[in-house]
C-alpha cells in the first residue's frame, strides 16, 4: 500500500459518492418497474477488491456470491442473482434482482459495482410473486442462483429466455435487468477513470483509508452510547397470514470495550408462512451503523469498515434465520420491525434520544387482471403510513419510512390501470398523542373498474405501534372490501387473490405511529392547529391533550388549564414506553 495524504482520500470519497448518485440516475431513467422507477426500491453499492462496501446504502454481499464461481471472475463477467439462500440473505426475497459487476483496471480487479432492484413479477401463483400463503420458497416464483449473465462480455441468451418464460411481465423485467446492468456499468466506467486519474495503487489505498475511518468512528460511537450491562427489547409481528402468531422479535444489546454485541436469542421460531426474514449479518451491521449515525451524528459517511467491531448472534431456525426452504416473500414486516426493536433496545437507557415506533412495515396493494381492451395489467403499489414522534418534532403524517421512496401519482394510476381513487389522505387521530405527535396513517379508497384480483400485505393490524417518553401508541392498520351493493367485508392484513368486480371498493388504511413525550406538555397552539387542520379531532384534543375548545374552535384557556392540571394529578407516573393493547393480545 502506498502512503496517501488524507485530502486525496477526501477527494476520492466525494468522487465515489457522486458515482453512487449517477448509478441511481441511470437506473431510474431507464427502468420500467414502477416500484424501482417511481418508488425507488433499489440499492447501489461500490466495493473494494475484497468486496467490502465503500459507498452504498445497504451493506455488502459480494464475497458470498463471487466465491461460488469456481472458475473465478473475469473481466466482462456480469453476475445476476435473486436467491436469498445462496447470498447469505443479502437479498431478502426473490423479487429483488441483483447485478454484481467486477471492475478491472489494467487487468487488475479494483472492486465491484452492484445494484439491486425490486422487479414486478417473478412468476408463481400470485401476481407480483409475494403470495402470503406460500409455505416454502418454491411457492414464491423463480429463483436465480448466482449465474453469469455475461461471461467475459458475452450475453448468455438462455438466461434471458428462461427469465422471460417465467414472469407475467417479461418486457418490464428485461428492461429492468438491463437497466441494472447499465447502472453498474456506469460505476465501472467512473471507477476506472478514478484509477486512471490517481493511479490504481493510490485509489486502493484511499479505499482502505475510508474503511479505517469508519472503523475508528464506530468504536467511538459504541463506547459513548452502548450499555455495558445487557439490555433487551421485544416487539411483535401480528401473524404470518396463515393464522399463526403473534411472533416475537427479541434483541439483546451490550458492549465489551469498544466491541458491540447484538443477540437475537429469545426470538420466536421461524413461521410456517412467508414472513420469515433471512437476516444477513453484514446487512444488519449496516442497519446498526446507519441507525447510530442518524441518532448521534448524521454527518458521517459510512461503509463496511466497522464490521469487525460488531458481533451478531442469530439463532438457527428462528424467524430471523429460517432454514431453507422456508418462504421469505413477505419479509418486510420483520425487516422494518427490526428497526423498532433496535431503536427500543438502544434507547432503554436514553429514551429521550430515540423515536417511538412507526407503521412498521412496507404495505403493498396489488391489483391485476385484464382491462377493457384485453390487456393484462399488474399494479403493485407501496403504501406508507405514520412516521414516529421524534426528539426533533412531530412524526410526519403519511410518509415513507423507507429512504427516498415516493408514492405513485393518482393521475398516473388512473391513466394506466382500471381503477379510480376516491380519496387519498391521512387518518385523523391515528398518530399517538405526544409532546411531539406521532404521524398519522394513510387512508386510500379505490374503486375497481375491471374484474380482477387484489392481494394485500400489511402488519400492525392488531398490535399497536408504541409511544415513548409518555407518548401514546398509534393506531392499527385495517382493510375493507366494500362490495358494490354496499356490503362491507373486513379483509385481513395479509391476503392473496381476493376476487373483485367492477364497482367494488377497497379501503386501505395503514398503521399510525407512536407519540414522543408527554401530551399534556404539548403547546396548546400546536394542538389547536392540528384540530383546525383536521389532523386531530376535538374529542381527541380533550381526551389526550386536555385541550378544550369553544364552539368556534377557539381554545378555552381556563378550562384547558384546569383539565390539564387535573389529568396530570390523576394519571400518576408516566412510563418510558407505552405499548397500548400489546399485553392483552400477546397473552
Amino acid at each position: 500500500m502506498v502512503k496517501i495524504d488524507s485530502i486525496t482520500v477526501d477527494i476520492i470519497e466525494n468522487a465515489l459518492k457522486n458515482i453512487k448518485e449517477e448509478m441511481d440516475v441511470t437506473l431510474f431513467r431507464s427502468a420500467m418497474s414502477p416500484v424501482i422507477r417511481e418508488q425507488h426500491d433499489c440499492f447501489p453499492m461500490i466495493t473494494d477488491p475484497e468486496g467490502k462496501m465503500v459507498v452504498g446504502n445497504f451493506g455488502s454481499h459480494v464475497p458470498e456470491v463471487v466465491n461460488q464461481f469456481e472458475e473465478g471472475i473475469h473481466e466482462g463477467d456480469v453476475i445476476f442473482v435473486s436467491d436469498p439462500y445462496s447470498t447469505g440473505g443479502s437479498i431478502s426475497h426473490i423479487n429483488d434482482w441483483m447485478i454484481i459487476l467486477p471492475i478491472f483496471h489494467q487487468n487488475e480487479i479494483v472492486g465491484y459495482s452492484s445494484m439491486f432492484g425490486h422487479v414486478m413479477d417473478v412468476g408463481g401463483p400470485v401476481p407480483s410473486s409475494m403470495p402470503v400463503t406460500a409455505t416454502t420458497i418454491f411457492g414464491e416464483g423463480v429463483r436465480f442462483p448466482p449465474v453469469k449473465l455475461y461471461d467475459k462480455g458475452v450475453l448468455n441468451e438462455s438466461i434471458i429466455k428462461i427469465m422471460k418464460a417465467n414472469t407475467r411481465t417479461p418486457l418490464e423485467n428485461y428492461s429492468d435487468l438491463m437497466a441494472l446492468v447499465a447502472s453498474c456499468r456506469t460505476a465501472e466506467k467512473r471507477v476506472k477513470e478514478l484509477c486512471e486519474r490517481f493511479g490504481t495503487e493510490k485509489y486502493l489505498s484511499a479505499l482502505n483509508a475510508l474503511l479505517e475511518r469508519t472503523n475508528v468512528m464506530m468504536r467511538q460511537l459504541i463506547q459513548n452510547f452502548l450499555p455495558t450491562e445487557p439490555v433487551s427489547f421485544e416487539d411483535y409481528i401480528d401473524d404470518d397470514g396463515l393464522g399463526n402468531g403473534p411472533f416475537k422479535m427479541k434483541l439483546t444489546v451490550w458492549r465489551e470495550g469498544d466491541n458491540a454485541y447484538f443477540d437475537w436469542g429469545g426470538t420466536d421460531k421461524q413461521a410456517p408462512g412467508p414472513i420469515n426474514y433471512y437476516l444477513s449479518e453484514p446487512m444488519f451491521k449496516m442497519f446498526i451503523g446507519s441507525f447510530l449515525i442518524s441518532v448521534f451524528d448524521p454527518a458521517i459517511n459510512f461503509n463496511d469498515g466497522f464490521y469487525e467491531v460488531l458481533h451478531i448472534k442469530t439463532p438457527e431456525g428462528s424467524l430471523m434465520r429460517p432454514k431453507a426452504p422456508a418462504a421469505l416473500g413477505c419479509r418486510t414486516h420483520a425487516l422494518s420491525r427490526l428497526f423498532d426493536v433496535l431503536s427500543g433496545a438502544l434507547s432503554i437507557n436514553t429514551p429521550e434520544n430515540s423515536p417511538a415506533a412507526g407503521y412498521g412495515t412496507s404495505p403493498y396493494f396489488i391489483y391485476s387482471g385484464y382491462d377493457d381492451e384485453g390487456r393484462y395489467f399488474n399494479l403493485m403499489e407501496v403504501m406508507y403510513g405514520g412516521l414516529p414522534g421524534r426528539p426533533i418534532g412531530d412524526g410526519i403524517d403519511g410518509h415513507s419510512w423507507w429512504p427516498a421512496f415516493v408514492n405513485i401519482p393518482t393521475e398516473y394510476l388512473e391513466t394506466y390501470y382500471p381503477l379510480l381513487v376516491n380519496s387519498y389522505k391521512t387518518g385523523t387521530d391515528s398518530g399517538g398523542a405526544g409532546l411531539n405527535r406521532g404521524g398519522n396513517c394513510n387512508e386510500k379508497l379505490y374503486t375497481i373498474l375491471a374484474e380482477g384480483t387484489v392481494s394485500i400485505h400489511d402488519d400492525r393490524s392488531i398490535i399497536q405501534p408504541w409511544g415513548i417518553n409518555g407518548g401514546e401508541p398509534g393506531s392499527s392498520s385495517s382493510k375493507m372490501l366494500i362490495k358494490k351493493d354496499g356490503t362491507r367485508i373486513p379483509l385481513p392484513s395479509k391476503v392473496d387473490n381476493v376476487e373483485v368486480e367492477k364497482g367494488d371498493q377497497i379501503l386501505f388504511i395503514t398503521g399510525g405511529s407512536g407519540g414522543w413525550g408527554d401530551p399534556l406538555e404539548r403547546e396548546v397552539e400546536r394542538v389547536r392547529l392540528d384540530v383546525a387542520r383536521g389532523l386531530v379531532s376535538v374529542e381527541k384534543a380533550a381526551q389526550s391533550y386536555g385541550v378544550l375548545f369553544t364552539d368556534h374552535l377557539e381554545v378555552d384557556q381556563a378550562k384547558t388549564e384546569e383539565t390539564r392540571a387535573k389529568m396530570k394529578l390523576e394519571r400518576g407516573k408516566l412510563e418510558s414506553f407505552n405499548f397500548g393493547n400489546r399485553e392483552k393480545v400477546v397473552q
Binding site: 495524504d5 488524507s6 485530502i7 482520500v9 477526501d10 477527494i11 470519497e13 466525494n14 468522487a15 457522486n18 440516475v25 431513467r29 431507464s30 420500467m32 414502477p34 446504502n57 445497504f58 428485461y174 428492461s175 437497466a179 475511518r213 468512528m217 449515525i293 442518524s294 441518532v295 459517511n301 459510512f302 428497526f339 406508507y384 426528539p391 426533533i392 418534532g393 410526519i396 403524517d397 403519511g398 410518509h399 415513507s400 419510512w401 429512504p403 427516498a404 421512496f405 415516493v406 408514492n407 401519482p409 393518482t410 393521475e411 388512473e414 391513466t415 394506466y416 379510480l420 381513487v421 380519496s423 387519498y424 389522505k425 391521512t426 379508497l445 392547529l529 383546525a532 387542520r533 383536521g534
Partner: protein, 682 residues
Amino acid sequence: MYRVAVDVGGTFTDIVLQNEESGEIYVTKTPSTTKDQSIGLMKGIKKVCEECNVDISEIRSILHGTTVATNAVLEEKGAKVGLITTEGFEQILHVARSWTPAPISAWMGFHKPNPLADLIYTRGAKERMTAKGDVYLELDETDIRHKIIELYEAGVESLTISLLNSYANSSHEERIKEIAESINPDIPVTISNDILPEFREYERTLTTVMNAYVRPPMQRYLTNIEKKLLDEKIDSRISIVRSDGGLMSIPAASSRPVHTMLSGPSGGVTASAMIGIQTGFRNVISFDMGGTSTDVSLTYDGSPRVSRETKVGVFPVKSPSLEVVSIGAGGGSIAHVPLTGALRVGPQSAGSEPGPASYDRGGEEPAVTDANVVLGYLPPSLVGGEMKLNVDKAKDAVRKVADKLEIDIYKAAKGIYDIVNENMYGATRVVSVEKGYDPREFSLLALGGAGPLHANALGKLSGSFPVIIPPTAGVLSALGFLQSVIRNEYSKTFIYTLSQLDVSTVVSELKGLGEECDHWLNQEAVPEEQRTVKYEVDVRYYRQGHEIPIEVQLSKIEENGLELISNQFGDIHEQTYGFKMDAEVEIVNIRAVAVGKVNSPEIPVNEAGTEDASHAIMDPDHQAYFEERFVKTPIYDRALLQPANKVIGPAIISQKDSTTLVLPGYFAEVDQHMNLLIQEEV
C-alpha cells in the same frame, strides 16, 4: 437610444447599459435593496446614466431579472393562499410525494417545510373527472360557492383551483373560477390547467399554488416599478426575465410569476451560450460561483438545455427553466474536520456577514476565500478594490483545520481548494455525463466573482478546454439579459401510444398549440419576421417513468410518419442509457415553443495587439503556492491586456470584480472580445 439590463442579486444589483447604435456596453454595480428591490433598480439606472452621461429619457427598454418571487417562497412571505382540490384529496400538499431522505433512518432528522397553502384554507369540491376527461361526478356548485365564501371570510388573499385530471378536461376548474370571481372579483384566482396542463397532480398543484403564493408580492413589486418609472418620467418598455431565459411583459409576469423563479441564473446561462457562439466554442459548461453556492449549467451547440422541473427550496416546481444544478459550495463555504478526521468543505457558509476570516469583519472559521488568500491566489489588495484582505486572519482560520489534520497551513489550504473544486466537478458531471454528454467536448466558462479563481483547476478535472473567462464575469447575468428573446411555451398532456395515433391527429394537436403561440406573439407585439414556433413531443416506452423531449418538424412528420418519432427516441435512449428496446413508444406531452427575436446589437471587437503581455504586469515578484511550494506568480492588470496578449502560467490576472488564476503549465490568451482563453501549454 439605449437599453439597460438590471440583475438584482443578494448583495449587489448589477447594471449593464448598451448603446443600441454602436453596441458598446458599460457596466456598474449598486448595493441591492432587499426590502424593496425597485429602489436599487432605480438607483442603479440613474447611476449608470450619470457615469455615462446618458439622459435617462434615452433609455428605450429595461430588461429586468428579479428574485422577488423566489425570495417570497424562501422567506415564507407570500400571500395567504386558499386551495380548492377534488374532494378526498384535500391533503395533497400535506402528503406530498411521501418522500423522506436516504439513507435508512435519515427521516429522524428530516425537516419538512409547511405547505404553501395551509390545510386550514383547503377545501374539496364535490366533482370528478376521469383520466380520459369524462365527467364522473358533476360539480356541486352550491357546495363550492359556500366553501369559497368561507375561505374569503377567513381572509384568503389568493385562490388556487387544482382538480384531479383537470389536464384532460378543465371545465370544472374553469366553472369554479367563474363562481369565485362572481363572489369577489378582486381576489386573484389561479387554475392549474392554465399554469401547467400536465399530469401528476402533486407537482401541478404545487406549481399552481406557488404561483398564487407569490402573485400578490410580485404584483405589488411590479406596480412599484411602474410608479417609480412614471415619477421619473421614463417612458421605456420594461420586460421581466423568465426562468427559461425568455422575456415577458409586466402583465404576463403579474399573472404568472412562477415563471420567474430562476430569473437571475438564467441570464448567466444565456450569456454563456452567447459567449460560446462568439468565441466559436458552441458547447459550453458554465459555472457561476458565488458566496454560498455554485450554479452549473450546460449549453450544447449554442442552445442551453431547458428543463421542465426545478427546485425552489425543497419544492419541486414544474416551470420551464434553463437547466441549472446548484450545489452548496462557494467562496464562503467553511472547512471543518469532523470526528472521522476527514476534511470537509461546506455546506455551512460564512455568508456575507461576517464573511470569510480574511474580510476582517469578525469571521473566524476558514472559508474557501481564506484558503485562496493563504495560497497567494487572491492578492490582498485588489485592483480598484474597496476592501483589503487580511492575510494573517486567513492564516489563523486555516490553521484551525491544519492542526486537526496535523499538516501545515499551506497543505491544508490547498486541500480546501482541491476539495471545493472536486465538489463543483461533481456538479459539472450531473449536467454532462449524467445527461449523456462528454465534458471533454465542452469548454468551461466561469461566472461570478469567485469562478475565475477556480476555473483553470476545474477545467483540468473535467478536461474541458479552453477555459473561458469573459471580461465581465461578475455581471454576466445582466449581460445575458441583453441577449434574451421573447419566449413562452404551450403544452398539454396527450398520453397515447404511437400505434393509437395517426399523423393528422398529432399534427393538428401540435398546430393547435402553435396557434396559441401566434396569439401570444401578437400580444407581445413581435413582428412577423422575428418569430419562430418550435414543436416538441415528450416520449418514452409505454409505462416507462421518464420522458425525453424530442424536437419535431411538422412537415417531416407529415412526410415520413410517426415512425420518425420512435426512431429518434430509440437513438437517444441508446445514446443515453446504452440500450434500446423493441417496445411500444408513447407520447406523454406535446408542446409548442414561441420565440420572438429581440434586436440585439453586436458588442464591438477590439484591435489585436501582440503576444507580449509584459506591459500589463503589476507585480512581477508575487508568490503563490503550487505543488507543495511557493513559486513566482506575477500579477497582471486585466484592464491593460489587449487582444492576442498571452499570459503564461503560473499567473494571476486581476480586475475590478474578480481574479483569474492561471495554473503552471497553462497559458491565457486574450481574444478580440476581451475574453481570456486558458489552454494547456504543449
